[in-house]
Symmetry: C2
């Protein structure tokens, strides 16, 4: 018993030491990472990539403007994980190895990439094999996603939507302050950043029309979100306690929950959004680990009324992540920032979302994606959708070239980015972007 | 070109001949099947089973009170499909081989099971290997389900719900007659018949209470549904045309969409049901092929207003399937039928559901499950949920032992069954059942 306790203590201490070391702001890699890079040695997010020379998708870690090929590194005997775990088209097999392996692998990679470690730095043959320039690589969907759930956890967003479509005096529905409201999304159409998005067709009911018509969506929108990936599943009938919920999260991504507002308005009563959301959901290719985000914990908003006991959390469960959305209006235009906000303003936290999702006994699976819901701040420039930014089209955005936008036009490219600001470095998410193509004729 | 046409014609003729032969009402198997059996030679539904002697799950076909082990039959060289396709824990690999293979395999099995075919009938060694008594087998979830969608396609059900919770004078919402309304369900918690169902905990708001409380669901309900399984997927951005939609369906199952009415009532606005449905959805273990259902096509209700062109169907797209629900009130009681209805009354058909689901460009995957929505007839005894049967608890059901039910009690077992009545035989679905266990303490 004593031996077991000593071992457990040693392991937990080692783990904390691992995180502290990997997150040390003074750490430097031999791969140059300027202060504005999203991928310094303090981050080391996981993703799946391929190259023209080796078109088989495999697992890698972003470092500066490069990717470290973990299959190659494991084949060289430098990781405690079998190479075949990394010779996969998704992170799922790696994730299945469990939290100590995620942490140990990140620590080993951190060590290998340090400026003062010669092992990889001075091995030209291995560098040639294991380091790939990001602009030479194709990035794939990082996880196989068995289930996609989308929450609705920004009070500002829910208030804006309620004001627009229901009653400004009672914008929040009665359940909103008690439940981290969520719904099941469509997992099949989750795509990786860069995948073009075809404007959906569907049923629309025009104002004052008697009957709906069929046609291309006229109110195509983005929703700025983050998502988290389930790393440790729970069995059917066994809820995840909020105290342990964080242990179940592998990492976070950026997420664009593309939305067809006119389809949504007509279809969503009484069972929720369906075709208006199912045509595409884009996520960023790099999954940032919770360990890398650890230094950027932040207080989340005070919750009043107090949540029910199963949703009561302690400590800091928000994260200070600066988020931006840019719109590139066609081929010639420059991307223009149209939203700046921060994840830490979210009312309901990820651990609350997960505790609520499973309290019924609902099971989760490795790779399940949980979207935050649109992240809106309290000022108009911080609204995370065009619906809110233009107040359902009433106040068009005027772009730099003088053109206006109420909703997204064909040819527009929407890009979202996000990062945590450290002292002289950033732990970033890269970007999630998508260009809108015309509807199917 | 002529050769191609001749071949295509020959193939289509062969296929029709295959179906006509396999569905011949006069066909007899050497495995006895009394007229009320669900599994005569005219059915041959696919499932996944295991036995104590061979605990590896594998694919089988139900025949009478037996299962034909397709792995064993393929190993004996009697099927044009590799044995490893059947040595799987799901039908997905078999389904992926495509419609001609489903059809050809069913025809080959039909031939093999005929009373006048000696090949298996008189081969005692092969019979011992390949025929398993159903009561000696464990039946598993037949498909791996990447996505679960649930529709809401019974006008009687939607009208009942609208009358109870909204406005009896305008019970159907404005979109209902235009859209086969559906929502994304939770695929992770779909379980096979026989799996006990734990009463969920969650948030309830009691009438006149200021705030919600946490506790065990007090209004646990079933929903009588059927489901269909996607056999041929469509790619993202490529809708399934209604004229071809049926080609994409592998087969049908019975489905119980367990529902926590009190959780649902509090959570469902504005994004639809979530925890109230995600704790369990039960399906029957046998997937009845569309070919076996072919003789039981029926007119579906006249649709007024006429649906939009992408939802316009021709021919008979309903199916005459008698459905029953029984409740077994605890250990000692006998099962008691509490609902009798028919699938053919469904307003929206499966091909309309699938055309609508994908018209936005949403992709489907092999094994996707699409629920019909609660199937209610026009008379109280034909309502497919306790919510409707007891009118939200106002008119309790009185059971044979004198006890009453408003909603499901712990220890109750709900079983659903369904069949098509042929001339002297039935093409049936078997049953989907589940016993309710007390909530987690």
């Amino acid at each position: 018993m004593l031996a077991w306790l000593a071992k457990a203590f040693q392991r937990s201490t080692l783990m904390k030491k691992d995180i502290m070391q990997t997150n040390d702001p003074t750490l430097k890699s031999f791969i140059p990472t300027p202060p504005e890079s999203h991928f310094p040695i303090q981050n080391l997010p996981f993703g799946v990539f391929s190259t023209a020379a080796d078109p088989a998708p495999r697992v890698g870690v972003a470092i500066g403007d490069h990717i470290l090929d973990l299959a190659a590194i494991a084949e060289a005997g430098l990781l405690n994980v079998k190479p075949e775990i990394f010779r996969q088209a998704s992170l799922n097999a790696f994730i299945a190895l469990g939290r100590p392996t995620w942490r140990g692998t990140r620590a080993a990679i951190s060590d290998l990439l340090r400026a003062d470690n010669l092992q990889l730095r001075d091995n030209q043959a291995l560098r040639a094999k294991a380091l790939v320039a990001q602009d030479q690589a194709t990035l794939h969907l990082p996880v196989e996603i068995p289930g996609y759930t989308d929450f609705y956890s920004s009070m500002e967003h829910a208030t804006n939507v309620g004001s627009m479509f229901r009653d400004p005096a009672n914008a929040l529905l009665p359940n909103w302050l008690h439940i981290p409201i969520g719904y099941n999304g469509r997992a099949s159409s989750v795509v990786v950043s860069g995948t073009p998005v075809q404007r959906p067709n569907g049923q629309l009911k025009l104002p004052d029309a008697e009957a709906p018509v069929f046609g291309a969506c006229r109110k195509l929108d983005f929703e700025l979100e983050t998502g988290f990936i389930i790393g440790q599943p729970n069995a059917l009938g066994e809820p995840i306690d909020i105290a342990n919920a964080e242990q179940h999260i592998f990492g976070m991504v950026l997420l664009n929950d593309w939305s067809a507002r006119d389809l949504q308005q007509w279809e969503y009563v009484p069972l929720g959004p369906f075709n208006s959301k199912s045509f595409a959901t884009s996520i960023s290719p790099w999954v940032v680990s919770m360990d890398a985000l650890e230094p950027f914990r932040a207080e989340s908003p005070v919750q009043q009324p107090e949540p029910l006991p199963y949703l009561k959390q302690s400590g800091k469960n928000g994260y200070d992540i600066t988020l931006e959305v840019s719109l590139k209006a066609g081929q010639s235009a420059a991307p223009q920032t149209i939203c700046r906000t921060n994840f830490k303003a979210m009312y309901w936290t990820m651990v609350q979302q997960l505790a609520h999702h499973t309290v019924s006994g609902c099971n989760t699976r490795i790779g399940d994606l949980m979207g935050s819901g649109t992240i809106s701040g309290s000022t108009p420039g911080a609204y995370g959708s065009l619906l809110e930014l233009t107040w359902n089209g009433k106040n068009p955005l005027v772009l730099a070239d003088g053109s206006q936008r109420t909703f997204i036009q064909d040819g527009d490219e929407v890009a979202m980015t996000g990062w945590c600001q450290g002292d002289g470095y950033r732990v970033g998410f890269g970007a999630v972007s998508g260009k809108v193509l015309p509807a199917r004729g």
